[in-house]
């Protein structure tokens, strides 16, 4: 199982926060999971289940309290160049055009501008922002801004793409459309994707495998292999198989709802 070909490997990862009053809050308890190269992993769970904590640790923005995270075989010790992140909000720099925003990682990491400028333009076309490269963020809709953020996360060709509820702020229709497009982008770029969401249908629709997390303490309660055929389009959400996957995840939440383990404090982390 622990073959070196694993793109991401979590070994007994836990994260405990210390509150101001001196108590400990277990945000994530003992998570072990391996993710293969090119796999689309979704992480689904309600607020407080530690899914954002997990992503921040994968991104190197937080360190685990115990356990170890390996990306491409090397332990995560801080933010890395082989990771691209899409946050909940687009976080575009308002004084930069779409193109300049997407080139931010290239500039920060002193990569060769010419090579990556081409790539940026290709990606901008790929996400459907062709013709908007020289627009400023405030001239774009929320969905378009998040597309630009996706390009920025992909521009330096990272092996791993981390997405933290990237479409949560969009309206339902735009969100579904973005999901379809994300699958298309993923098919073309073949990244390992870790996608955080609190929407069960979204988690099923996108995933090769879906990690189900429950809160208090945040823990991994189920791993669902989603074997719906690809390429997927929105009608797949009306099939009985899709419904069964959704039901399985939902029941995992219900079963684990009333099982707070000892020592875990209630918190809004």
């Amino acid at each position: 199982m622990t073959a070196p070909s694993d793109m991401i490997e979590l070994r007994n990862v836990s994260k405990t926060y210390r509150t101001k009053r001196g108590g400990d809050v277990v945000a994530l308890q003992n998570v072990s999971v391996n993710m293969e190269d090119g796999e689309f992993i979704t992480v689904v769970g309600p607020s407080g289940c530690g899914k954002s904590t997990l992503l921040n640790m994968l991104a190197g923005l937080l360190t685990p309290s115990s356990g170890e995270i390996l990306l491409q075989g090397t332990p995560v010790k801080g933010p890395r160049r082989d990771v691209g992140i899409v946050f909940q909000s687009p976080v575009l720099l308002p004084w930069r055009t779409v193109f300049q925003n997407t080139m931010l990682p290239v500039q920060v990491q002193h990569r060769e501008r010419k090579v990556y400028a081409n790539r940026a333009h290709q990606l901008i076309d790929l996400v459907g922002l062709g013709g908007f490269a020289d627009k400023y963020p405030f001239e774009l809709s929320g969905g378009m801004q998040q597309r630009a953020a996706i390009v920025r996360a992909l521009v330096h060709d990272p092996a791993i793409l981390l997405m933290d509820e990237p479409f949560g702020a969009l309206d339902a229709m735009t969100r579904e459309q973005m999901n379809v497009e994300l699958l298309r982008i993923w098919r073309d770029s073949r990244k390992t994707v870790v996608f955080i969401t609190h929407s069960i249908p979204e988690a099923v629709f996108l995933a090769d495998r879906c990690l189900v997390f429950c809160p208090r303490p945040g823990r991994l309660v189920d791993i669902v292999d989603v074997e719906l055929p690809r390429p997927r389009d929105l009608p797949v959400m009306n099939t009985p198989e899709f419904g069964r996957y959704v039901q399985r995840i939902r029941s995992a939440f219900i079963e684990n709802e009333e099982a707070p383990s000892e020592g875990a404090l209630v918190s809004n982390l």
Binding site: L61, P94, L104
Partner: protein, 287 residues
């Protein structure tokens, strides 16, 4: 519904990110011309009321002059070159003092925002000094630096220093936490984060400070000239005052107002160009 001919409303519905207020209101052309005329009409009416009130109530000229008298004083002052000379002197004092004070304020604000040592050593005293009413030390500054340009420049610099200092500190410290997290996730160095994100984020606050400071600079210079001077509009006003030449005072006040207005408009214009991504009206307004 007809689309295409002046149908502003129809397109807004498609693009919710174009704010309706940013567009024309769709008034027919004659109405819009009338709207533009409101302001000059009000001016004309105001002047007429002024003139009428003085003739009706028989107000003596040395109390409130008529618009005509002010105009005469203005014209004479300009054609003789006297007012032109005083205007140039005052404008130079304002601009030099403003630029100096702002530059020092920005530099010191940067140091305090970036270095804890500087914050601990300088900031408490700066705050304490800010409590001193600046115009009250004008006489002292005149004693120290003479009745010429230097004392006025220093007064203007002193008053424009504080808004810049405070706003630079606040601006540099109020960087959006999401942007900081983004930079960190990209493995950006502290310096990269500073010049790519923090400085830009501080600019709206810096310009808000610059707008406040220009107004204060005008006040500072005039106060300095009141205290002791041999030239400048403030000097001219107090001289006219001594001569009970009220129309002359009005003429100087008029020039001063126009000058202050033009200067603050220039700052606003530059701000709008530089901080193009933000509406300056959203930012804290000055006192």
């Amino acid at each position: 519904m007809a689309v295409g001919t002046r149908g502003e409303g129809s397109q807004q519905a498609l693009d919710p990110h174009v704010l309706p207020v940013a567009r024309s209101r769709g008034y027919p052309a004659p109405g819009r011309i009338l709207t533009w005329l409101y302001t000059p009409i009000a001016l004309v009416v105001g002047i007429a009321v002024w003139q009428l009130a003085i003739s009706i109530f028989n107000v003596p000229n040395y109390l409130v002059p008529t618009p005509g008298h002010v105009w005469d004083a203005l014209r004479d002052g300009i054609s003789s070159g006297v007012l032109v000379h005083h205007t140039i002197v005052t404008a130079r004092e304002i601009v030099v003092g403003y630029a100096t004070g702002s530059a020092v304020g920005i530099a010191l604000g940067f140091l305090i925002a970036q270095y804890r040592v500087a914050e601990r050593m300088i900031y408490p005293y700066v705050i304490a000094l800010n409590a001193v009413p600046k115009v009250a030390i004008a006489p002292l500054l005149v004693v120290w630096f003479g009745v010429g340009l230097t004392s006025k420049v220093i007064i203007a610099a002193t008053v424009s220093f504080f808004p810049l200092l405070v706003n630079v500190i606040v601006g540099l410290r109020s960087t959006d936490s999401d942007q900081l997290r983004l930079m960190r996730s990209l493995t950006a160095s502290g310096w990269q984060t500073f010049y790519m994100v923090k400085i830009r984020n501080a600019l709206p606050m810096v310009f808000a400070g610059l707008e406040v400071a220009i107004v204060l600079s005008v006040v500072g210079v005039i106060v300095g000239e009141f205290v002791a001077a041999q030239e400048g509009l403030g000097y001219y006003i107090s001289e006219m005052n001594a001569l009970v030449n009220t129309p002359g005072m009005f003429a100087a006040l008029l020039i001063l107002s126009v000058m202050g207005f033009v200067m603050s408009q220039i700052v606003k214009l530059v701000a709008r160009k530089v901080v193009f991504w933000k509406q300056m009206d959203d930012i804290v307004e000055g006192p």
